[in-house]
């Protein structure tokens, strides 16, 4: 089995999808010769040519808008947005056209487009390079939104997203790009839109996605010393949310802490909390808690250690829940 970084796992997944289907295109700024600012598309243009891997002009609306046209023509474009905070010039095309054409045409115009967005903080970057805008996309009907957290999922989920006939916003945890894991490329993957129990446990449920999943697993390990047996769930799909495994878990543990980097108000985490209290009300031993970024713009990077949910903040929430 190959040991891959998360970035290389996506690269291998893109390559596999491109080999499988000549209609798959990669589009974005610097994705060709440079291989992307995070090198996720490294080597693809060399092997597939400039017509399969397009170094585009620098305009996000142009990237998404032309991808919509290419999809109408029958291609399966995979757009790279360099950083989370740069997606907004393309947001109009994503919301107005990409998300709605299938519905508008009553199924006559499918939109098999993937928009890859490296998201989240923790890399010491300047403004606009560390945001977590996933709720803005999860709120838009017609889009599917997923976030990978580890190399195995990254390898499979990117291929499944490309194979989907629906538009998929694909969030990649940029501070985990260099995390490594063994990837069995012959294994049977989980379905794209399914949550996963990343660590079984019985006394409390931690649910997260993307970059904080590792934080959650570390917190669960650390909590063992306090006698807590924590279950960790990787949500993986943010729209549609697959909350079945979360409900099952909470019915057993009676406690839930949701962890995410995004601001808390009207967030994906907020939706998880609302649905869990609706479905698991009689099982809950404590209020559902959230550990998230704050309701502020992403701060200067010297503040991000305080902004991002870390081990201590997660463990503090665990203690509050257990002590209820």
């Amino acid at each position: 089995m190959a040991v891959l970084t998360l970035a290389k796992a996506i690269n291998d997944g893109l390559r596999a999808a491109m080999e499988r289907d000549p209609k798959v295109l990669i589009m974005g700024e610097d994705v060709g010769k440079l291989g992307g600012v995070f090198r996720v598309t490294d080597g693809l243009q060399k092997d597939f040519g400039e017509q399969r891997v397009l170094d585009t002009p620098l305009a996000e609306s142009g990237i998404i808008g032309t991808a919509v046209g290419l999809a109408i023509r029958g291609f399966r474009p995979v757009c790279e947005i360099q950083f989370d905070g740069f997606v907004f010039p393309g947001y109009d095309q994503i919301v107005s056209q990409l998300a709605k054409l299938h519905f508008r045409s009553q199924g006559k115009v499918p939109m098999p487009v993937v928009v890859r967005i490296p998201f989240g903080g923790g890399i010491g970057a300047v403004e606009h390079h560390s945001e977590s805008p996933e709720a803005l996309f999860a709120h838009v009907a017609g889009l599917k939104v997923v976030a990978c957290s580890n190399p195995v999922d990254a390898y499979w989920m990117i291929q499944q997203a490309i194979a989907s006939d629906d538009p998929v916003i694909f969030f990649e945890p940029k501070r985990r790009y260099w995390e490594k894991a063994e990837v069995d490329v012959s294994a049977e993957p989980q379905p794209l839109h399914s949550a996963r129990v990343a660590r079984p446990g019985s006394s409390l449920t931690l649910a997260g996605y993307g970059p904080v999943l590792k934080t959650c697993l570390e917190a669960a390990e650390a909590a063992v010393a306090d006698g807590h047996d924590i279950e960790v769930i990787d949500l993986r799909t943010l729209s549609p949310l697959d909350l079945g495994p979360v409900f099952d878990s909470v019915r057993r543990t009676g406690r839930l802490v949701v962890v995410a980097e995004a601001p808390s108000e009207t967030s994906v985490a907020a939706e998880v909390c609302a649905r869990v209290q609706q479905e698991c009300f009689h099982s809950l031993e404590a209020p559902v808690l959230r550990v998230t970024g704050f309701d502020t713009p992403y701060p200067p990077s010297k503040c991000e250690e305080d902004y991002l949910p870390d081990l201590d903040r997660v463990l503090d929430a665990v203690d509050r829940s257990m002590g209820w």
Binding site: P57, G62, V68, L70, S96, S105, P110, P240, D242
Partner: protein
């Protein structure tokens, strides 16, 4: 250097250019300028043009009669659309009055394999692509968002967000090129329709950039109807719109948008440039919106009656009629026949509108996703159960 204390705001008459006001050599309602391509004058006189006559060489009396029929029929159902809105049958209608020649000329220049990306006023182009006018009604009556098959018609669904379709068209044209469908007479091309107001949108600029750097076979067809709702062309640009193309590195041309023969010839040329690999091309069809922007709008609040009277003299249909009668000797029976056909079309249009069924209650849940969604499916089931609970009440 002035300080904020020195500065006084200009009066409203200072800031808003009037109809006689010339900004950087452009006047919104002038005759179109010296570069305007025209093959049929407002007086109905066929005038030669060494560059474009070849593209109208087949326009004989029969073909011109067919173009006249197109113009009249499209105007007729457009007027019916206005009337239906006034009678409460449509929530809104977007009239094309005055722009018939710009649309019929461009639409009839297209080959079957070409693809059109319209905005929301392109009822005449839809007509030329074989989309039945009744298919346009659902959008404005609120029963659907466009019911025709875009692929089968070679005519994409209406795009309401201003300028979005310029990028979608460019991407589609890139696909034509990637598939090797450019080059030779059987090559493919794309045409994108938008208005003068859209030229201020970033997506149109980005579409021009993308089309240029990828040599995409796309004709950008700007119908400059002089008004973006209440904003005049002077509020969009300091230079004539067709001249913008030069800055992107492709050809731009201004055609008399009220001259169906010129629009046909120039668009044929532009599409040929694209299908043989010389595109993109920007065509500015210089025309005039003789009615409101939509039925929700009141043009008397922002434009002068004189302006409308001036443009009535350049009517796109009258000049063809005059030419058919005076120069080609077409008998009155032909015109009577077209009028009868137009009346019949209008009656069918009206009846269809009134007869359109309301969508089923679960219409809103259908085809949100190609692969479904458990959340939407659950909402549909719950809603249908709730809906059924009223049965028999």
């Amino acid at each position: 250097m002035s300080t904020p204390q020195d500065w006084t705001p200009p009066t409203s008459t200072d800031s808003h250019p009037g109809h006689d006001h010339v900004v950087a050599g452009l006047k919104g309602t002038d005759e179109g300028g010296a570069d305007l391509v025209q093959l049929l004058t407002p007086e109905g006189e066929r005038v030669p043009d060494p560059r474009f006559d070849a593209y109208a060489a087949d326009v004989d009396v029969e073909m011109l009669k067919n173009l006249y029929r197109d113009l009249v029929l499209v105007r007729r159902f457009d007027r019916e659309g206005n009337a239906l809105q006034r009678q409460g049958q449509l929530g809104i209608w977007v009239p094309l009055l005055g722009q018939e020649a710009a649309q019929i000329g461009a639409g009839r220049a297209m080959a079957p394999q070409d693809m059109a990306f319209p905005s929301y006023r392109e009822h005449g182009v839809a007509w030329t692509r074989g989309v039945d006018p009744t298919d346009l009604l659902g959008i404005f009556r609120g029963t659907d968002h466009g019911s025709w098959d875009p692929k089968a018609a070679g005519f994409h669904l209406y795009t309401i967000v201003i300028g979005n379709q310029c990028l979608n068209a460019t991407g589609y044209a890139m696909g034509q090129k990637f598939e090797g469908r450019v080059g030779g007479d059987d090559g493919e091309a794309t045409i994108c329709f938008f208005g003068d107001g859209a030229t201020s949108q970033g997506d149109v600029h980005e579409g021009f950039v993308w089309a240029a750097v990828y040599d995409a076979p796309v004709v950008f067809y700007c119908q400059n109807n002089q008004w973006a709702i209440s904003e005049p062309t002077e509020r969009q640009t300091r230079v004539p719109l067709y001249k913008r193309a030069q800055g992107y590195g492709f050809d731009g041309i201004r055609v008399d948008g009220n001259d169906v023969i010129a629009c046909l010839a120039v668009t044929r040329w532009a599409l040929e440039e694209c299908r043989t690999g010389n595109g993109p091309v920007l065509v500015e069809a210089f025309t005039y919106r003789m009615d409101a922007h939509t039925t929700s709008d009141d043009p008397t609040r922002y434009r002068l009656a004189d302006e409308l009277e001036l443009w009535k003299l350049k009517d796109p249909i009258e000049r063809v009629r005059v030419h058919l009668v005076r120069s080609l000797g077409v008998e009155p029976e032909f015109f009577d026949g077209v009028q009868a056909e137009a009346d019949a079309l209008a009656a069918r249009f009206r009846q269809h509108c009134v007869d359109m069924p309301a969508p089923a209650p679960d219409r809103m849940f259908s085809q949100v996703y190609a692969e479904g969604s458990p959340a939407v499916d659950a909402q549909r089931e719950a809603f249908l159960a709730y809906h059924a609970s009223f049965e028999g009440v």
